[in-house]
């Protein structure tokens, strides 16, 4: 992940602070920062969400847009399911090292991680409902994420924004007709209803997981690392937990060291407790964002950037 260059004294300060249970911004080891969420600001997308983790309007900022396309089935693909394709890009304006090809490795890492969490049955989405006509046509949901600002803990914010965007996604309704052709065979045709009022939500979107990232600093670990804490992190593990408390994905990153097996087991236990709180918090924040009068409000440039 993008990291600051810290002097050895600063690194020591953060490490020793965390080992004594003190974090630079006063949080406890398992406390997360404030989250601001806004949904459906992109009128051209089927669903969208922008999530920021941080204080005072500054923090890790991720924008996710969902676009649904109808794909024709080709041999070799599953016959009765739709698909979810993820793509994450770190905006070059977010950090200096993201210029040019600097963010390429990070983009690949985040894309594959998001794909691992959302791209199959483990995401909780009902992919069968995304099939329009078996062996003929299906919906593909393109989950495109843009990381606008990086202040530590990209993955957690990324998954929050993706989950919010998918929950806010509305697909046009599809009408399927079966007609008999000259030979008496049944041919199916579908028609996409072009009515903005007649749209369906994604089935199973409430089962989507949230990610919790644990960063090991010295002998203790913290959740939702800030930029400075990330620079001192020796090992990091991301655990994705569904609302039913199932573990949907685990991935370790950072290269300085590994985890002792007992510490890893403790982290997996903590992950469930924290995920329970996070899911409750998500519900509150999402409902507030959706009822924010955004339905009647035109999404102009100033609402997009200003009051956020």
């Amino acid at each position: 992940m993008a990291s600051l260059i810290l002097s050895p004294a600063e690194q020591d300060y953060i490490t020793q602070g965390v080992e004594r249970g003190l974090r630079a911004d006063g949080r406890g080891g398992l406390d997360r920062r404030e989250v601001t969420l806004r949904t459906n600001m992109i009128s051209q997308a089927n669903g969208s969400a922008r999530c920021r983790t941080g204080y005072l309007g500054v923090g890790t900022d991720v924008l996710v847009g969902i676009k649904a396309e109808v794909n024709s089935w080709t041999a070799g693909e599953p016959e009765d399911r739709g698909a979810v394709v993820c793509s994450v890009e770190c905006s070059p304006s977010a950090a200096q090292e993201f210029e040019g090809y600097g963010a390429e490795e990070l983009n690949v890492e985040l894309t594959q991680l998001l794909d691992r969490i959302l791209g199959g049955p483990q995401s909780g989405l009902d992919l069968g409902k995304l099939c329009i006509i078996p062996k003929q046509a299906y919906w593909v949901l393109h989950v495109d994420a843009l990381v606008l600002d990086v202040k530590g803990s990209i993955v957690d914010t990324l998954v929050w924004a993706a989950r919010a965007a998918l929950l806010a996604t509305r697909l046009p309704r599809v009408v399927v007709e079966s007609i008999a052709d000259e030979d008496g065979n049944m041919q199916s045709e579908f028609d996409v209803v072009d009515d903005a009022e007649d749209q369906v939500a994604l089935e199973g979107a409430e089962n989507l997981p949230l990610a919790v990232t644990f960063s090991q600093i010295g002998k203790r670990y913290v959740v939702d690392a800030s930029e400075q804490e990330e620079a001192v992190t020796q090992a990091r593990v991301t655990v994705a937990v569904s609302p039913q408390m199932d573990i949907c994905a685990i991935q370790k990153s950072a290269t300085a060291r590994g985890f002792a097996p007992s510490l890893l087991t403790e982290i997996l236990h903590s992950a469930r407790a924290i995920a329970r709180e996070e899911h409750a918090r998500f519900k509150r924040v999402f409902e507030a964002a959706s009822s924010d009068g955004a339905a009647g409000e035109p999404s102009t440039g100033s609402t997009f950037l200003g009051t956020f």
Binding site: E105, V108, E109, T111, Q112, R116, G120, P121, Q122, A235, V237, S242, M245, D246, I247, C248, A249, I250, Q251, K252, S253, A254, T255, A256, R257, G258, F259, A260, P261, L264, T265, L268, H269, R272
Partner: protein
């Protein structure tokens, strides 16, 4: 040298069932950043075009190969004494000649790199041994082949340093209950210790 590529500092060729992987380690050699206080470890992972059963792969590195390169770096770098190689870089080039199950191939690649690093004489805290498992119904099955992996509900990959008692990498793909995950971590770690014994025995015998 345990394999070909005589210009390399260390090489290894690893076979596990149908999986065949070759790794060459170059280094320590001049790093790209001259002000680095510790060495850097880079890994380049590639499938040979004929390696996978499902289709021919192009010579251009795909996104999944780039991700696996990062996975290998995250799994093996904790074992290397990088602070002993300031301003230097250690490069590992992994080529999969034949693959059988994605998680099993990544585990085999980690084992192969460990052997090649030891062959190159790079200072390490311990060798990294890796193992993969798949969830078939309610039971965890070790080292799944491709058809078993396609049918499995979940796959788990763990890389472990038995001497230092540290899990250097964990990757779960698929949904499980927390108890199933705990069970998998336990079993996989034990299996890694057994794989480690095999690697060590082979390295010792190659010196004789």
């Amino acid at each position: 040298a345990l394999s070909s590529a005589s210009a390399a500092s260390g090489t290894a060729f690893y076979e596990q069932g149908k999986i065949r992987i070759s790794c060459a380690v170059y280094g320590p050699r001049q790093g790209r950043r001259s002000n680095a206080r510790a060495g850097s470890f880079d890994c380049d992972f590639r499938y040979a075009p004929f390696a996978c059963s499902w289709k021919r792969r192009s010579h251009v590195r795909g996104a999944d190969e780039k991700e696996i390169s990062l996975i290998l770096e995250h799994a093996v770098a904790p074992a290397i004494r990088l602070e002993a190689y300031p301003k230097a870089c250690i490069d590992a080039f992994v080529t999969v000649i034949e693959s059988d199950g994605k998680a099993a191939t990544i585990a085999a690649a980690i084992n192969c790199i460990s052997a090649a690093l030891a062959d190159a004489g790079i200072e390490m805290y311990d060798s990294v041994a890796a193992c993969s498992m798949g969830l078939a119904g309610a039971r965890w099955v070790a080292d799944c082949a491709q058809p078993e992996e396609d049918a499995a509900l979940c796959s788990m990959l763990i890389a472990y340093m038995p001497g230092a008692d540290e899990i250097t990498y964990i990757l779960q793909h698929g949904k499980t209950t927390p108890e199933q995950t705990d069970q998998a971590v336990q079993t996989c770690t034990d299996m890694c210790a057994r794989v480690y014994a095999v690697i060590c025995r082979y390295l010792q015998s190659s010196l004789e």
